[in-house]
């Protein structure tokens, strides 16, 4: 197991390296320069020259690339990820302070997904072709097809606009009483639902399919044949095997948590990583953009690794 984790970690390095090269190339090839923002008749050319030297833009691109690649992994240093061209602060700190909000939103959405999707998926499978199954399957098909950002728009217009019950933006109310857990929870209702509904749809379809698959297997029939209680067979023998593949889904959902739901966070002005990323692209804050891509890629790599390791732990048939 340890050697497997080590091998996978080593395999991740060239992938992250590749991501770094491609995103660096995009930024390098982009027309214009980050200092264009400062160009105006009031700024003397010497100041611009100083800025170019300060940001290292006078260096050839390979020197910039090597410098970036060599300092980026040194996360313990404050300036490892460079300085934001917009916030005038170390990129590392800006990203770190946004992570809690993103994790809160994504984590809650994931929790809601697990709590809702697994029971309704099981219900649909156990009572196949019943009315409950048809309702769940129809919901899942439609919910899976609606783009989550459109769902976000609908929820915003309905919950905050027409009904006027929920707050339309941010994470806490300004002023007195703002920011206590209940207030934050109130702000989370709409963004969490817009993230969770699509995931619930996808997960419940998957759980239903896996459960149906397992219920048809020989060992389940044997258990029933030897006279075990039907519920015991379903919820003890079948369920455990049906839930193992769900771990894969967990690993696929995880990276979305870290890089943030870019659009959902923007629609609801949620102060997380995703919203920061959009802002960084808008302001052409290259160091921040690059760091955001790397954090996102890191999330994918870790998510995949975690899913495979958990799968191995849960399923004794898998040997590394």
């Amino acid at each position: 197991m340890a050697t497997y984790v080590l091998r996978r970690t080593l395999q991740a390095i060239p992938i992250l390296f590749g991501v770094a090269i491609i995103s660096f190339a995009i930024v390098q090839l982009a027309p214009g320069s980050p200092i264009d923002r400062f160009r105006n008749p009031n700024v003397r050319p010497e100041v611009l020259q100083n800025l170019i030297r300060l940001y290292g833009l006078d260096q050839p691109w390979w020197d910039q690339l090597i410098k970036w690649l060599s300092t980026f992994p040194q996360v313990w240093r404050e300036d490892a990820w460079g300085h934001s061209l917009f916030f005038y602060r170390p990129v590392r700190d800006i990203i770190l302070e946004r992570i809690p909000a993103t994790l809160l939103l994504g984590g809650t959405a994931l929790l809601v997904t697990i709590v809702v999707a697994i029971p309704i998926g099981i219900l649909a499978a156990v009572k196949q072709y019943s009315i409950a199954d048809k309702i769940i399957t129809t919901f899942a098909t439609i919910g899976y097809a609606i783009p989550s950002f459109l769902l976000g728009i609908y929820l915003l217009v309905l919950g905050a606009g027409i009904l006027g019950i929920f707050p339309s933006f941010g994470m806490r109310t300004g002023g007195a009483g703002g920011g206590d857990p209940l207030d934050v929870a109130w702000h989370m209702v709409l963004p969490v639902s817009s993230l969770a509904i699509q995931q619930i749809a996808g997960w419940s379809r998957y759980v239903r399919a896996k459960m149906l698959e397992v219920l048809q297997q020989d060992y389940v029939r044997t258990a029933r044949a030897k006279g075990l209680a039907s519920n015991r067979v379903t919820y003890k023998h079948a369920l455990r095997n049906a839930l193992i593949p769900v771990i894969t889904l967990f690993g696929l959902t995880l990276p979305g948590l870290l890089s943030g739901a870019v659009i959902t966070e923007t629609i609801f002005s949620w102060p997380g990583l995703g919203q920061l990323g959009v802002q960084a692209v808008e302001t052409r804050d290259y160091p921040l953009v690059l760091a955001f891509v790397m954090v996102g890629a890191f999330g994918v790599v870790v998510g995949n690794l975690l899913a495979d390791v958990l799968y191995g732990l849960a399923d004794p048939r898998i040997k590394y």
Binding site: V19, A145, I146, S259
Partner: protein
């Protein structure tokens, strides 16, 4: 005497046999011989939702093509006297106006603008999917056919692409290189989207490579180009067609999301995304503005995903459907 009876009997038997054979032949004629495509059509028709979806998409497509053709530049022609005016089927002169859905906030005929918006969104999606298929099939077939280090190299590239936050990379490309042109939106969607098609084609090729008829073609001296194009690509196309259908849905969503955030097309261009972007200003004052582009987007995405499901079942030659 005995000989005569024998001859008569033989005649009789011969006639019987002939009749039997004739009726058998008739039976054989009546049993239809179905080609692959007839079976595909039969299986597809049994998928009710997919048939409805195809119908819906056909209606949307003809709406998006015909209405802009007939109404000309009505989709970009504001009338300062008609902001948010209600539907008006006939104007003062009694002519048909096509303003079935009324006018938008600057007095543009909404029915015409919606048609143009669907046209733009579908054009972007189709163009992106064509590029995705071209790159995906090329990379996938090279990796799957040659295997070895070429396969390894290309698949690591796919791994790298899949590790990047796709939507964010699209945002970067469109924002840094864009200037709001349709071309860069198409390019950005294709840049991040080709990996699925490549993986599918590669997987099919890896299994097809070992199949007897491909081995036979190789033994007969066919070159890689002929084997790939004639023998391996056609049977590998089924999952690719399904992925392309779903890819259209994804591309429409991405374009809408981009333009909604203000990164894709400029607001003066009509697309489902830009219409949503305009509606964003009226979320709390006039929420009805979300309805038309939102519903159209949902219809396209739902229809494309049902169509994809139907095609998946219909194109799979391993599926057997009893004749009805």
């Amino acid at each position: 005497m005995a000989d005569r009876i024998d001859a008569l009997e033989i005649d009789d038997i011969a006639r019987q046999r002939r009749e039997e054979a004739d009726s058998l032949a008739e039976d054989v004629d009546r049993t239809p011989v179905r080609t692959y495509w007839q079976l595909v059509r039969r299986r597809f028709r049994q998928h009710r939702m997919a048939v409805i979806a195809l119908f819906v998409l056909a209606i949307l497509a003809s709406y998006a093509i015909l209405v802009p053709l007939i109404t000309g530049d009505a989709y970009a022609d504001p009338d300062i006297f008609k902001p948010d005016a209600p539907p008006e089927i006939f104007n003062e002169e009694g002519e048909f106006t096509f303003a079935i859905l009324g006018y938008n906030e600057i007095g543009i005929n909404l029915f015409a603008r919606l048609a143009k918006a669907i046209q733009t969104s579908l054009t972007i999606a189709l163009a992106a999917v064509v590029i995705i298929l071209t790159i995906g099939i090329l990379v996938g077939s090279i990796a799957g056919y040659f295997g070895g280090w070429i396969d390894n190299l290309l698949m690591r590239l796919v791994d790298i692409m899949l590790s990047m936050p796709a939507l964010f990379i699209i945002l970067m490309l469109v924002s840094f290189f864009g200037g709001g042109s349709m071309g860069i939106v198409i390019f950005a969607i294709a840049f991040t989207g080709w990996t699925t098609a490549a993986r599918l084609v590669r997987a099919e090729f890896l299994s097809l490579r070992e199949v007897d008829y491909v081995q036979a073609a190789r033994a007969l001296g066919a070159g890689p180009q002929r084997i790939i194009l004639r023998h391996m690509l056609p049977p590998a196309m089924a999952p690719v067609v399904v992925a392309a259908t779903l890819g259209i849905a994804d591309s429409v969503i991405v374009e809408a999301a981009l333009s909604f955030l203000g990164f894709g097309l400029p607001r003066s261009d009509a697309s489902l995304g830009t219409m949503l972007n305009v509606a964003r200003e009226f979320f709390f004052t006039d929420p009805t503005k979300v309805v038309y582009p939102g519903v159209m987007l949902m219809l396209i995405v739902l229809a494309a995903s049902f169509l994809g499901d139907g095609l998946r079942d219909a194109l799979d030659p391993r599926q057997r459907v009893e004749a009805k």
